[in-house]
């Protein structure tokens, strides 16, 4: 059992919660959570009911070609992270996107991307087995890991392998035979969609019975003439999955070096709740371990870009600005829907390199120096660094507000969160 954090939130606690779970926020937003219980503060952020921002100007159907459609879709999501009313939902969807990675290049359909992101948003607080099944049946994933090519007699193992290795059990907890047998269970899973003959056909999962191998299979010690649904059920319900996901959540949200007993405690919550993500995340974000982990995560490029804009309340508008933000994120290797490979992003210290540090410094200049940043020093360090009184305050306080913001953003402290 994870020890719950028993105090009401201090200013630093509130800033920590907002930075870690919700891409950061303004000093005003942070102050509004002070004095609340960890549960109440979390409930406020964990409200995933708001619909997408109606002012989102990006519509992939406006695109002149596929490449442009992909870019517009990426910008659309970025806009939602920056301006949406449920930033915690977007950050969680991004975590899950890194987990169930796909890329625009191979998926090649804005409609499939839209469905995929919709699944991540809609099921992110549901049981993990439900989420995994929905993702496994999404045309984006069927295409990305080639299950649309997986047919009786000549199975394609790509999806079955990654399901075990990356989505559920983790490497070392299954055999090559399990992969081969599971690939057979997923035969016949594919999708249909618009074509020249039927331009308005719905893009959706279909089960092609004729292509399905309904023979007997042995998977992770269980025997039966399993289908893909069975494999997802067996894999997501496996005890190793609880541990694998608990560890991954800790690394993403809490600390690059989680304590083994903390991971075991979260895995226990996972097992008892049958992978109910709402219960698991609530236990995590109200735990004393979470609140004791300030500045123990290396800030990702996406947190750097989105978090800075939100903290400084920068007036980011216009298609050109978003294209420029996406170029920055692409250069830093962290553009949404464009992961380096099927394992998503490694995170942690891998974000630190010469080129990346330099690019962050250049981004900091473009965010602050020509913009009208007018925040006072306390608000600035609270929103950016999570405290009104940091070691930087006395060094920067005589400079102009844009210079202060710039220096905070290029400090080693801002490399963490």
């Amino acid at each position: 059992m994870l020890t719950p954090y028993s105090r009401t939130l201090s200013l630093e606690d509130a800033a920590h919660l907002v930075r870690r779970t919700s891409f950061g926020g303004s000093a005003t937003k942070i102050r509004s959570l002070v004095g609340k219980t960890p549960q109440d503060a979390l409930l406020q952020l964990m409200d995933f009911t708001p619909s997408e921002n109606s002012k989102n100007p990006f519509d992939p159907s406006d695109a002149v070609n596929k490449n442009a459609a992909d870019k517009i879709f990426q910008a659309k999501w970025l806009f939602e992270m920056i301006h949406g009313e449920a930033p915690m939902r977007e950050k969680l969807a991004f975590f899950l996107h890194g987990h169930f990675a796909i890329s625009t290049e191979k998926v090649g359909s804005p409609e499939a991307l839209d469905q995929y992101l919709g699944v991540l948003r809609e099921h992110s607080l549901k049981p993990f087995g439900v989420l995994t099944l929905e993702i496994a049946k999404s045309p984006a994933m069927l295409r990305y890991l080639d299950n649309d090519q997986n047919k009786k007699g000549k199975p394609n193992e790509n999806f079955a392998r990654e399901l075990f290795e990356l989505f559920t059990l983790g490497v070392g907890n299954y055999s090559e035979k399990d992969v081969q047998e599971s690939a057979r269970a997923f035969t016949g899973w594919t999708f249909t969609g618009p074509s020249k003959k039927a331009p308005n056909a719905k893009l959706q999962f279909v089960f092609q019975r004729k292509q399905h191998d309904d023979g007997n299979k042995t998977i992770l010690g269980e025997q039966g003439n399993f289908t893909g649904d069975d494999v997802v059920r067996i894999a997501t319900g496996h005890p190793e999955t609880a541990h694998f996901l608990a560890n991954k959540l800790f690394k993403f949200y809490v600390s690059s070096n989680p304590k083994p007993e903390d991971v075991a405690a979260l895995a226990d919550v996972w097992t008892r709740s049958r992978g109910d993500l709402q219960q698991v995340l609530t236990a995590l974000f109200t735990s004393s371990s979470f609140y004791a982990s300030k500045n123990q995560v290396v800030k990702s490029p996406l947190d750097f870009v989105v978090g800075s804009i939100r903290a400084l309340e920068l007036p980011i508008q216009g298609e050109g600005v978003y294209q420029s933000l996406l170029r920055t994120l692409t250069g830093l290797g962290h553009a949404p829907l464009d992961p380096p490979n099927v394992s998503g992003w490694e995170g942690g210290r891998s974000w630190v390199s010469d080129g990346a540090l330099l690019s962050r410094i250049q981004t900091a200049a473009s965010f602050t120096l020509s913009k009208k940043v007018t925040l006072n020093t306390k608000d600035l360090t609270l929103a950016l660094l999570g405290s009104e009184t940091t070691a930087l305050n006395p060094i920067i306080q005589k400079l102009t507000s844009p210079q202060q913001a710039y220096l905070v953003m290029i400090s080693p402290e801002y490399g963490l969160m």
Binding site: N156, V171, N295, S343, S350, D354, G355, L399, L407
Partner: protein, 393 residues
């Protein structure tokens, strides 16, 4: 410029040795005892390059029987021997073969092959076949010779190969933007901020920032030494990266190992279109790169080593692709190479779970390059003795 001099250079007068790991501080004070001027360019073919369609066993009926849709027809193969030939997209590399500068190593892998991209890649990066080590083989070179700038990755994220627990070697993704200019009025405050005491991850980031400042200054001072000597193929991202590597080689700022990647070779479906294109980009890029270096009198300093995390399944799948396999093909090319085909060709009648059986341990290939080209004792880096055929001069 000598290394000792550049260590003093810093646009901000921030001491590089402050907070430096002890082994590096020690080494920085030493002469360049293990330094040499030979350069190794390591190219990672990400995703698992299919070896059988790269070095094609065109006289083997079993090859054609296993791949009715995706085999390379005999008449298209670039003949190297009575049984083997290169994929037709690799024509630009034939000039290296003809002059004895291209070595191909067959059936390369390691014991207990792992078919996961990430596990297998980690094994190739660390040289630890259990996959447990988080220390890259090139990172260990940097620690051993005590030079945090001896290797550079060209890309945005430094791969495991160039990392150790204490050290992350530099990554550069754009040489022209690789410079730090602080706006007027912020320099002094920045220097004070960098001077604050720190621990753990904060110190790690601070140290990386100091390294970056010093590294950018050094590279910028030397980039003008490059004189373009070849035109690189257009619409070829890999070739564009090699051009930047050529500029770094010409800058002569002490990098002995340069690392970059091309991909994805993960051809589960529609293999021919993707692999044909990638092998073409790979080959034409390297051709231009070596021409460029030759024209600047630098060609005899550079050896190129290319690897992939595994080969692919011998039999094609129903998607005109191939699934993850085991043994694969490595290339070594350029200066210091004794051309030829080394190792045993895969026995397509005797497979392991449908895969080519590995016969040559990749660590032996690293070892030979370390000992004979970089002149760095391989046993220190690899932790044991490994052998490979004599593909170096």
């Amino acid at each position: 410029m000598k290394r000792r001099e550049f260590l003093k250079i810093s646009s901000l007068a921030i001491s590089l040795t402050t907070g430096m790991p002890a082994f590096l501080a020690r080494a920085a004070a030493q002469a360049q005892s293990m330094a040499g001027d030979k350069i190794l360019v390591v190219i990672q073919l990400s995703g698992g390059n299919d070896g059988l369609n790269t070095l094609v066993p065109y006289a083997n009926g079993a090859y054609y029987a296993a791949r009715p849709n995706i085999a390379i027809p005999k008449q298209e193969v670039l003949t190297l021997s009575s049984s083997l030939g290169l994929h037709p997209s690799m024509k630009p590399l034939m000039r290296f073969w003809d002059t004895g500068k291209l070595a191909l190593l067959e059936s390369v892998g390691y014991p207990n092959p792992n078919r996961s991209h990430f596990s297998s890649m980690a094994i190739w990066h660390s040289g630890d076949v259990t996959g447990a080590s988080k220390e890259g083989w090139i990172g260990r070179i940097a620690e051993t010779i005590g030079d945090p700038f001896c290797a550079t990755n060209f890309g945005s994220v430094t791969p495991l190969a160039l990392r150790t627990n204490e050290l992350i070697l530099p990554s550069i993704d754009n040489l022209d933007k690789f410079q730090l200019k602080l706006p007027q009025g912020t320099e002094k405050a920045f220097e004070q901020i960098m001077g604050l005491p720190r621990q753990n991850d904060a110190e790690f980031v601070a140290q990386a920032t100091r390294h970056m400042i010093s590294n950018t200054a050094k590279v910028q001072q030397n980039l003008s030494k490059y004189k373009a000597g070849a035109s690189y193929p257009e619409n070829n991202k890999f070739a564009a990266k090699l051009k930047e590597l050529a500029r770094l080689v010409a800058a002569n700022t002490g990098q002995r190992i340069l690392y970059t990647d091309i991909g994805s070779f993960d051809t589960h479906a529609g293999q021919r279109a993707d692999q044909d294109r990638l092998l073409g980009e790979f080959s034409s890029g390297i051709d231009a790169f070596m021409k460029d270096l030759d024209s600047q009198g630098l060609g005899d300093k550079v050896m190129v080593l290319a690897f992939s995390e595994f080969g692919r399944r011998v039999a094609e799948n129903d998607s005109a692709g191939t699934d993850h396999g085991q043994g694969g093909v490595m290339f070594v090319l350029g200066a210091g190479v004794k051309g030829g085909i080394y190792g045993d060709s895969p026995d397509l009648e005797k497979l392991n779970q449908g895969d080519v059986v590995y016969k040559q341990d990749f660590r032996g290939v690293y070892a030979r390059v370390l000992d004979n080209w970089l002149k760095i004792p391989s046993k220190t880096i690899m932790g044991a003795e490994f052998t490979a055929p004599a593909f170096t001069v």
